[in-house]
Amino acid sequence: MARLIRAVLLLLALALPAAAQQDAFDAAVSGLAGGFNQQAEAVERLGALGDPRAVPLLRALADGRLLKRPDGGLVPPGEAAPPGAEPVRVNNRVRVALRGALGRLQLVSPDPAERLAAAEAVFRSRDAANAPLLEAALARESLPRIRSQMELSLAASRLVAADKGAKRAAIAALGAAGSTDARALLLEARAANPALAAEIQTAVAAIDRRLSLRRMAETLFQGLSLGSVLLLAALGLAVTFGVMGVINMAHGEMVMLGAYTTFFVQEALRGVPWLLPWSLPLSVPAAFLVAALVGAAIERGLIRHLYGRPLETLLMTFGVGMILQQAVRTLFGAQNREVLSPPWMQGTLTLPGGVSVTQNRLWIIVFGVAVLLAVLAAIRLTRFGLEMRAVVQNRRIAATMGIRTGRVDALTFAFGSGVAGMAGVALSQIDNVSPNLGTGYIIDSFMVVVFGGVGSLAGTLVGAMTLGVVNKVLEPWAGAVLAKVAVLVALMLFIQRRPRGLFALRGRAAEG
């Protein structure tokens, strides 16, 4: 029983202010049917009340669709017109009031897009009278994007206020907001307020610092993202070329096979809708297997016969790459294939500080690091990795210890190719899946491996990330293509200074 009473009391408490507002609203609405002065007042009051129900009424009035019964009562918009009803007439004063009220009311509209548009409109109007309204709207607003726009608009309207204190507060707020819009606003205000120039200047400087920091963070992210793409593409090569010393020009085609496997898995899962969003993770092992099998076949069938003749291996594997490309072109066609992004990889993420990053790029960084760790673990921790290192260090002694070196060669090459295939899964998200997907990456991959130091996975990581970041840092100045050319030239000069790369192997392993 006590509970019931408490519930009733609570309901009453909630309803009371609403009821008071209800009265004010009804009173204001009834004013719409009166004379022009009364109308204008009513419109302004409705605008100030901030009740979303006023929006259809005011719109109807503005468009001349609001009807008045012969007895003076209003016909609610949307209802059928009773006989004898006439449109409510308005004059220019009322129209001005309507425009203002509608603009303000949109600030509390249930539709977020409308709220945002209204906040932007208020920002453009630069009217000091909007400030209280914005404060009210801000108190209700919960979406961060709209909040920040409203704060900006609030500062803009305070900036044109007569009150110097309000202006100072607005300048400080704009300085703290740190967006390009705020910066433009401040610069505009500087001309109008010579007295506050110094404060505005400090606020602008603060914004500039923040903006440049944000730009740097974003460039860094883009660089790391490009770097992780390079890392993925180069990791497989770091195994086949770096560890085994086999020049595999068909490496790019292994990446391409991985991308096509991703496409194939996606098409195969079309019949199983609940699995479809997970086709990408499922493609990772599939791509590894496909590329590894092809790699093992190439190693056993062809490369094995050319050990110790690197130039011939280079030419031969180039031919193999050509055949693989043409085979895929014949099977799947030359056009680009679309690999969908699962929902959890789409969209952008805004980090604190306003740095926005795209989700799929973020995932590629994560994936790149994960693959690197997996490769490291395979080489350092498994029996296969141990045998692989043994064969690389001293083939004959490894053989006398009972290691089947031929099998290890095949497995190592298959492993490197499989890693390339996994890279293809990631690249299918950011590049066109076409038969010549791999050709664009082969030179970059070799550059990464050579730059980082042949045979060193840490070097591959550092090399890839450095190249990625340098590329993205240069891009705004030089353009994407010239940045790439500059990086290539810089690399050639770098190799002058350190022919064995950043992380040169020392001791016996370096003698190869």
């Binding site: 050319l306 130039l311 030419l315 031969m316 055949i323 070799f446 293509v481 790439k484 050639m492």
Partner: protein, 366 residues
């Protein structure tokens, strides 16, 4: 294995070599006859079509490129995967001259600027286009630009003892970077459309039988000249040292030879020859665009040499002709098969025919 390539011929092989020489002379004479046969009346049994003449002219320039690659790879062991870049640069130099000769006959009718520059809003000729209205200057540039580029790259690479596959990959990156650069419109080289629509060369309107014959003979003369030059180089003392550098570079260095300078000389000479080939190629095909820089082109040229037989000058020429004949035939009969065939050639020649077609001929010798 590679040591046998340059060993002096055993006595009994001398006879076979003599036969080969006569076959070669016959082949050159036959080639020289082609433009003449082209002039015979259409119904004559010996008439040769325009297509055959222009295609053969193109192959001859390819053969010059193959010689250039063979000189560096077959003799000095420098496998450049960027010779297409030198070829294309030579082509671009002559292309610039041809563009300047169009004069006011372009679509926009501008007296000095080529069409693409008018289109891109250039006011005047960029400085690097100065002088290209003179043929000798353009020809000089067609040889000098690849030569200087090769000297710079070669100096940097050989000085740091970058050899083998590392050098190959660097030269491939070089041609790749140049391709990206030439694709840009603001380089002032016509962007991805390159140069085309040429009108005349040395006062001869192109695309006439006369011009075609002249270009054909110029190419043939260049091939013979390049062959003679390469023979002189490879049979000289320098040639012996080159082969030694290929087979055991550090040993040669320890013997007191300056291998860096020797390799640099051969590499630059090879690049100049490639530039010459490009300069002859462009007027005959009537177009040059950044696609010529693509790494695939360079490596395809390497395979001509591999197929023919590297380390023998005849082999390089033979390879250029035979692979391109196969390409022309296959791309017309079954275009999809060509890339399979080319890829297969790469595999087959490295696995089964390391000495190329010439090796196949020589195997019959005792």
């Amino acid at each position: 294995m590679s040591a046998t390539l340059a060993s002096p011929a055993p006595p009994r092989a001398a006879a076979a070599r003599n036969v080969l020489r006569w076959v070669l002379i016959g082949a050159v004479l036959l080639l020289a006859l082609l433009p003449v046969l082209n002039r015979l009346p259409l119904d004559s049994a010996l008439h040769v079509s325009d297509f055959v003449v222009s295609v053969t002219g193109k192959w001859i320039t390819y053969a010059v490129l193959a010689l250039a690659i063979d000189l560096a790879w077959g003799y000095a062991g420098i496998l450049s995967l960027g010779h297409g870049a030198f070829f294309a640069l030579g082509g671009y130099a002559i292309g610039m001259h041809l563009m300047r000769l169009i004069g006011p006959r372009g679509v926009y009718g501008h007296p000095t600027l080529p069409d693409f520059m008018v289109f891109l809003g250039y006011r005047e000729l960029p400085w690097y286009w100065w002088g290209f209205d003179h043929f000798p200057f353009a020809l000089l540039m067609a040889l000098a630009v690849p030569g200087v580029l090769a000297a710079v790259v070669g100096f940097l690479a050989f000085r740091s003892r970058i050899t083998g596959v590392y050098f190959s990959i660097i030269t491939q990156a070089l041609t790749y970077a140049l391709m990206l650069a030439f694709f840009r419109n603001d380089m002032g080289f016509g962007g991805n459309n390159g140069f085309t629509d040429f009108k005349e060369l040395l006062g001869m309107p192109l695309n006439t039988p006369n011009a075609r014959a002249m270009l054909f003979y110029a190419s043939l003369a260049s091939l013979l000249g390049a062959y003679w030059l390469c023979t002189r180089v490879t049979r000289s003392k320098l040639g012996r040292v080159l082969v030694a550098v290929r087979d055991a570079e550090s040993r040669v260095r320890f013997l007191g030879y300056d291998t860096t300078r020797i390799k640099l000389f051969v590499f630059v000479l090879s690049a100049v020859l490639a530039g010459l080939a490009g300069a002859l190629y462009v007027p005959q095909v009537g177009i040059i665009n950044p696609g010529e820089f693509s790494p695939g082109n360079s490596i395809e040229a390497v395979v001509w040499v591999a197929v023919g037989g590297r380390g023998t000058l005849v082999g390089a020429v033979l390879g250029a002709f035979s692979v391109n004949a196969l390409k022309t035939w296959l791309t017309s009969v079954a275009p999809d098969l060509w890339l399979f065939a080319l890829g297969g050639l790469f595999v087959a020649v490295t696995l089964f025919l390391p000495r190329g077609l010439i090796g196949l001929l020589r195997r019959r010798e005792p």
